[in-house]
C-alpha cells in the first residue's frame, strides 16, 4: 500500500513539475467549457435561408414586405445597406439579395411601376427558394392593391369613367373593400406538428460541461501510455526490477495515482459548472460512480496503449488523437441526437459515449444511482478488458 502511494505521489510530482500543467488540468478545460457553452449547435436555431434585404424605400409597403419575409418558413431577412449587401454578395457570404428601390409605395403599385430587384447566383437552390419566398411576400402585400386594380380594369372594360377623380374614387373604394375582405379571409391551412421522435432534452451548458469534462480527462488518462514510455525510455522502469516491487503494485500505483488526479480535475470542473451555470448534477454518489468508472475505463485504455507504444512522443500524439476522436464520435462535442442514425449506433463503441450518457442521465433526465448503473457497468467492462490486455502485455523493458 505504501509503495502504491509512493508511486502515485511520484507521478503527481512529475506531472505538476511544470506550471504549464495547470493550464491543461483546469484552466483550458474551464475556458473551453465556458466559451463552447455559447457556441455549439442546439438543433433548434433558426435554420432558415438568410436573405439579404436592402430597403431603400423605407415605406409602409417596403416594411410590410420585410414583415412578411420574417414570417416566412423558408427564409429569414437580414436588412443591410446596399454597400454591405453588395460586398457580401460578391464575397459569396449572401446567397441572394433583395433590393427594394426608393419610391415603392401604393401609388407606384397602382401605376404598375412598382419594381423590386432580386440578385442571385446561377444554379443555386437556396436562391430559388428565396425567390419563391419573396414572390409570396410581395403577393401578400400587394394582393389588396392587385384586387383594386383588377376591379378598376374590369370596370374600365365596361365603360369609361367621367373624370380622373371618379376613377380614383372607384379605385380607393375597391381598395377599402379589398382590405376588409382580406381581413376576413379564412385560414386555408392547419399546421400540425408530427410525433416524430425528436424532442431530445438539450441544454447547451449541461451538454458542454459534461462533454468537455470527459474530453479533458480522457486525454491525460490516455497519456498514462506516455508515462510508461517515459519510464521505459529513461530506464527507470528497469531499475524498478531491482526492487521488490511486483508488476501489479507498479501498475496499480501508476493507475490509481492518475485516476485520483482525474477525479480531482473532474470535481473542479463539476464545481465550476455548478457555480458558473447553476447546473444540478443530481445525486453526488451517482455522479462519482460515473466519474470513477469513466476514469478507470480511460486509464485502462491508456495502460493498454502504453504496452504497444515505443516513444513518449508517439504516446502523447496518440493519446491526444484518440482522446479527441473518441470525444467527438462519442457525442461529447456535438449533440449525439444530431448525428446520422448509423453514427449514433457506432458511437456506442466508445467509452466516451457511455460516460456522456451517464452524465446526461444525471443532468438532464433526473436519473439516480440505479439509472446510471447500466452506463457504469459498460464502463467497468471497458476497464476490465483493457486492464487485462495491459497487464498481459506489460514489460519492464
Amino acid at each position: 500500500m505504501k509503495k502504491i502511494l509512493a508511486i502515485a505521489w511520484k507521478d503527481a510530482i512529475l506531472r505538476f513539475s511544470s506550471p504549464s500543467e495547470w493550464l491543461f488540468f483546469i484552466i483550458l478545460p474551464i475556458v473551453f467549457t465556458f466559451i463552447f457553452a455559447g457556441g455549439v449547435p442546439t438543433g433548434d436555431e433558426d435554420n432558415r435561408i438568410r436573405l439579404v434585404v436592402v430597403d431603400q424605400a423605407n415605406t409602409t409597403i417596403s416594411q410590410e414586405i420585410i414583415r412578411e419575409l420574417e414570417n416566412s418558413t423558408s427564409v429569414r431577412p437580414d436588412v443591410l445597406s446596399l454597400e454591405e449587401a453588395e460586398e457580401q454578395f460578391d464575397a459569396r457570404e449572401a446567397t441572394a439579395v433583395l433590393v427594394i428601390p426608393a419610391g415603392l409605395d401604393m401609388e407606384a403599385i397602382q401605376n404598375g411601376t412598382a419594381q423590386l430587384d432580386f440578385r442571385q447566383p446561377p444554379n443555386n437552390l437556396d436562391a430559388s427558394i428565396a425567390e419563391r419566398a419573396v414572390d409570396t411576400a410581395i403577393r401578400r402585400v400587394s394582393s389588396v392593391a392587385s384586387a383594386a386594380k383588377m376591379a378598376l380594369d374590369e370596370a374600365k372594360a365596361r365603360g369609361t369613367f367621367e373624370s380622373a377623380e371618379d376613377e380614383q374614387a372607384y379605385f380607393t373604394q375597391a381598395l377599402e373593400l379589398a382590405k376588409s375582405l382580406q381581413a376576413d379571409a379564412p385560414e386555408r391551412v392547419t399546421v400540425i406538428q408530427g410525433n416524430t421522435p425528436d424532442d431530445f432534452a438539450y441544454d447547451p451548458q449541461a451538454n458542454v460541461s459534461a462533454g468537455q469534462l470527459i474530453t479533458w480527462v480522457f486525454i491525460p488518462l490516455f497519456g498514462i501510455s506516455a508515462l510508461f514510455a517515459y519510464e521505459r525510455q529513461h530506464g527507470t522502469l528497469r531499475r524498478l526490477l531491482t526492487t521488490p516491487t511486483s508488476k501489479a503494485t507498479f501498475l496499480l500505483g501508476t493507475i490509481s495515482g492518475q485516476v485520483v488526479m482525474a477525479l480531482v480535475q473532474m470535481t473542479l470542473m463539476v464545481l465550476f459548472a455548478v457555480f458558473a451555470f447553476k447546473l444540478n448534477w443530481g445525486n453526488p454518489l451517482a455522479v462519482y460512480i460515473i466519474l470513477t468508472c469513466s476514469a478507470l475505463a480511460a486509464a485502462a485504455i491508456g495502460t493498454a496503449m502504453g504496452t504497444f507504444i515505443k516513444s513518449e512522443g508517439q504516446a502523447m500524439g496518440l493519446s491526444i488523437m484518440a482522446g479527441m476522436m473518441m470525444g467527438m464520435l462519442g457525442g461529447c462535442w456535438y449533440p449525439l441526437e444530431l448525428f446520422p442514425s448509423f453514427m449514433q449506433t457506432i458511437a456506442q463503441l466508445f467509452p466516451t459515449y457511455w460516460s456522456m450518457q451517464g452524465l446526461l442521465d444525471l443532468l438532464l433526465r433526473g436519473a439516480g444511482v440505479t439509472g446510471i448503473l447500466p452506463e457504469a457497468g459498460v464502463l467497468i467492462l471497458f476497464a476490465g478488458v483493457f486492464f487485462s490486455i495491459g497487464v498481459m502485455r506489460f514489460r519492464y523493458e
Partner: protein
C-alpha cells in the same frame, strides 16, 4: 541563400522521419475531418440540413381543380431538384410517414376544398372551414419550412385570386355596371381566367426583376468548413514543433556546432525559420491534397489556394517564433504550443463556426491566423477568386511580419545563437 535552403530542407526531412510528429501533423487532422464528416452526415446523405430532394407526401382527396393544381405545383419542373413528392390517398398512412421520419411533411387536401374556395354554380355556400392540413416533421425543421413556404406561395396566389374576384364583382354590382342576375356569369368568366392565372403563377402587382450574376457558386459542403479548420488547428502544432527544434538543437549542441562552419547566425536562424515554414506548407498541402482525393472536396481555385496556404503558414510561423523566443526549454514550447493551438482553434473558428460565438470572442479571434485563413478558404471553397482574398492575405502578411520583428528583437536579447 543555399545554406538557408539546405537547413530548411534538412528540418523538413527530419519531420517526415518523426512518426510521432506526423501523427499530430497529418493523421489527427485528417481523422478529425473524417469524423466530422461522419457525425454531420456528410458521407451518408443523412444530413439534417440538406435541402435538396425533400421528401413530401401529398394526399389529394379534393381531386378538383385546386387540389390538382397544388399537386401540379409540387410536381413542376421548377421544383424537381428541391422536392420529391409522393402521392397517397390515405391521410393516416401519410401522417405515419412523417411520424416515422420518412418524409419532411404531409400535405392533406380535404375533399371539397376547391368548392370551399370557389363558389359553385349550384349556389351552395362555400364551406370556409375546410383547410389543407400541413402535417410537419419537427425533426426536419428546415425541410418542412421550405415545403410550408411552397404551400404558402400557392395559397397566397389563391387568396389573391379570391380577393380580386370578390372585390371586382362587388364593385361592379355597387356601381351598377352589372346587374345581380349577371353576377354569376361574370364571376364564372373571371374565375376561369383567374384560376389559370393563379395556377400559372402570373405576375404580381409588384414586378420582381431577377438578375443572375455570372459568378457560379459552388455548392457548400460542411466538410469545406471542417477540413481547413482542422488543418489550421494542427498547423499551429507544427509551427511550435519547429520552434521546439531550434531550442532542442541548441540544447543538443548541434546549433553551436553549425556556427563553427562558415555560416553566420542570421543564416542559421533564417534556415531554421525557413524549415518551420516548409513544414507548415508541406503539412497544409498534404492535408488539402488528401481531403481532395479521399473526400472529393473542392477547395477552389488551385493557385489562390496555394497562395493562401503560403500566407497562412507565414502568419502561423510568426506565432511559432514568438513562442520559441519566449520559452526557455523545448518542453515549455511543447506545452505552451499545444495550449496556443487549442486556444487559437477555439477562437479562430476551427472547432465551431465563429458566427455562433459571442461578439467579443469573434473579435479576439482576429489575432489568430486560423480566423483569417478560414475566411479565405471558405471564400475560395464557395467559388470566390483571388480578388476577394485581399483582406485575409493582408492580415496574415501583417501578422507574420509583426511577429517576425518582435521575435527577432527577443532572439537578439536572448543571444539564442552563439558559439
Amino acid at each position: 541563400m543555399l545554406k538557408l535552403l539546405l537547413i530548411g530542407l534538412k528540418d523538413l526531412k527530419l519531420m517526415f522521419r518523426d512518426r510521432a510528429a506526423l501523427l499530430l501533423m497529418l493523421l489527427t487532422p485528417f481523422l478529425l475531418t473524417l469524423g466530422m464528416g461522419l457525425v454531420t452526415g456528410q458521407f451518408s446523405g443523412d444530413n439534417n440540413s440538406g435541402i435538396s430532394d425533400i421528401p413530401v407526401v401529398i394526399v389529394n382527396l379534393d381531386n378538383d381543380s385546386l387540389g390538382n393544381a397544388l399537386v401540379d405545383v409540387f410536381n413542376s419542373d421548377d421544383l424537381a431538384d428541391l422536392v420529391e413528392p409522393a402521392s397517397s390517398q390515405d391521410p393516416e398512412a401519410a401522417r405515419r410517414l412523417v411520424d416515422e421520419d420518412e418524409v419532411a411533411a404531409a400535405i392533406i387536401i380535404p375533399a371539397g376544398f376547391t368548392q370551399s374556395v370557389i363558389p359553385q354554380n349550384n349556389g351552395a355556400a362555400p364551406n370556409e372551414e375546410l383547410t389543407i392540413e400541413f402535417y410537419s416533421n419537427p425533426s426536419r425543421p428546415t425541410s418542412a419550412g421550405i415545403i410550408k413556404a411552397i404551400l404558402d406561395g400557392f395559397l397566397a396566389r389563391l387568396d389573391e385570386m379570391r380577393l380580386g374576384g370578390l372585390t371586382t364583382i362587388t364593385q361592379l354590382l355597387a356601381s351598377g355596371r352589372i346587374q345581380p342576375q349577371d353576377a354569376n356569369q361574370v364571376g364564372e368568366e373571371m374565375g376561369e381566367r383567374l384560376q389559370s392565372a393563379a395556377v400559372n403563377g402570373e405576375t404580381t402587382a409588384i414586378t420582381l426583376n431577377t438578375s443572375t450574376s455570372e459568378q457560379e457558386t459552388n455548392e457548400f459542403n460542411a466538410l469545406a468548413y471542417f477540413a481547413p479548420g482542422m488543418a489550421l488547428m494542427f498547423l499551429m502544432y507544427t509551427v511550435s514543433y519547429g520552434g521546439r527544434s531550434i531550442l532542442a538543437e541548441k540544447a543538443g549542441g548541434t546549433l553551436p556546432r553549425l556556427l563553427v562552419s562558415p555560416t553566420n547566425s542570421a543564416q542559421v536562424l533564417g534556415g531554421k525559420v525557413f524549415g518551420i515554414f516548409l513544414m507548415g506548407a508541406a503539412q497544409m498541402l498534404i492535408l488539402i491534397g488528401a481531403s481532395t482525393l479521399f473526400f472529393g472536396l473542392n477547395w477552389g481555385n488551385t493557385l489562390s489556394v496555394i497562395l493562401l496556404v503560403l500566407v497562412a503558414v507565414f502568419g502561423a510561423t510568426g506565432w511559432g517564433l514568438l513562442i520559441t523566443a519566449l520559452a526557455r526549454t523545448p518542453a515549455q514550447i511543447g506545452s505552451v504550443g499545444s495550449a496556443v493551438m487549442l486556444i487559437f482553434a477555439m477562437l479562430g473558428g476551427s472547432l465551431i463556426p465563429l458566427d455562433n460565438l459571442p461578439a467579443i470572442t469573434q473579435a479576439l479571434g482576429r489575432i489568430t491566423p486560423n480566423a483569417w485563413a478560414m475566411d479565405g478558404f471558405l471564400t475560395l471553397a464557395l467559388g470566390g477568386t483571388l480578388t476577394l482574398l485581399s483582406p485575409p492575405i493582408l492580415a496574415l502578411l501583417t501578422m507574420g511580419i509583426l511577429l517576425f520583428l518582435i521575435s527577432t528583437v527577443l532572439f537578439g536579447k536572448k543571444n539564442l545563437i552563439q558559439k
